[in-house]
Amino acid sequence: MAKIVGAITTSHVPAIGRAIAGKLQDDPYWKPFFDGFPPVHAWLDKVRPDVAVVLYNDHGLNFFLDKMPTFAVGAAPEYHNADEGWGIPTLPPFKGHPELSWHVINELVAREFDLTTCQEMLVDHAYSLPLKLLWPNDEKCPVPTVPVCINTVQYPLPSAKRCYKLGKALGEAIGSWDKDLRVLVIGTGGLSHQLDGERAGFVNPEFDKAFMDSLVSDPEWVTQFSNEQIVEKTGTQGVELLMWVAARAALPGRVGLVHSNYHIPISNTAAGLMVMEVAA
């Protein structure tokens, strides 16, 4: 049976792409952010995942308001990164894993998740950049991936509670996969930031820290809040922490914290990073 090796949660911001392209990793502005990743690379070398399931949110590249899914799961042989409107160089295509995709889709629909399935799907910076941060030295992402996209564009968004349930069911689905492979779960988004409105630039390190702690010790803590309350506490785009909630929930039982980092700011964003393993 398949085994989940752990979960990595990280922020994503288009500016990371510019920093990578410009080799700014050691620039004083960027160093505290990029310095979070070598321990992750060491952990990945140790656990050697065969495939990654990536929870992320689309930023208006693949989905528009004519067909806006709450939860979308990719089932393509390959996922292309594409121009999002600002002409940043795109990363090479990501290999898919249709067999795991369909297994996950079948199991989640059987568990009453009303998925949108995507046999063709463009993936944006929320997908491409975290994978590049995890495997910076590989020209192409070395593991095949399965995208799971959560709507953070148009309300009503799924609640933190629903996302927790999605993650839990996803973990069970992966665990029931009849293949002897090691699966990594990735959640990208957040932490506190707000791009739009008079409150632009809002961040909330106290809440972010409490949230990061809760993922280890009490992962359902955040499900007490409505999305509007999460926005109040973390900013309009802080609600992207929903991907972290789902990724953590995919890990069965208690977890151990392998590594974490937290830094403000990158661009307008409070950047968080966590690596969690299933407790022995």
Partner: protein, 119 residues
């Protein structure tokens, strides 16, 4: 009980709900089209004509014309799509932040750096 009626007021903050989604549909559809470099160029060539083609209303067109970020939000613009319009103008999210808060870009950046001190 009515889930939709539980609205929370957050100063300086809107959630993009059905009401804004309806209001901003044409504007957001235009901004979504800016994923394509060809469409960005078509907009640059003839802003007014491009906006007309997508059926923008007067409020939306005026906000586009005057590069008024808060006006675009009030007209139903969604930040994820508006970011693509900002791309055309060569603005990053910190330019947008400054424009919306009335700060200079340097002040806005300094505010964020200060928020990161001593965490």
């Amino acid at each position: 009980m009515n889930a939709a009626s539980q609205k929370l007021e957050i100063p300086g903050t809107r959630v993009f709900d059905g009401e804004l989604a309806q209001k901003g549909y044409a504007l957001n559809k235009m901004c979504f089209s800016f994923n394509s470099a060809e469409n960005r160029e078509a907009f640059r060539q003839d802003e007014a004509g491009y906006c007309r083609q997508f059926g923008l209303n007067a409020e939306q067109y005026e906000a586009i014309r005057t590069r008024n970020v808060l006006g675009l939000l009030a007209a139903g613009g969604n930040v994820y799509y508006l970011a693509k319009f900002a791309g055309i103008l060569g603005l990053d999210v910190q330019d947008l932040g400054a424009a919306q808060t009335g700060m200079s870009k340097d002040e806005f950046k300094a505010m964020l750096l200060a928020a990161g001190k001593g965490i």
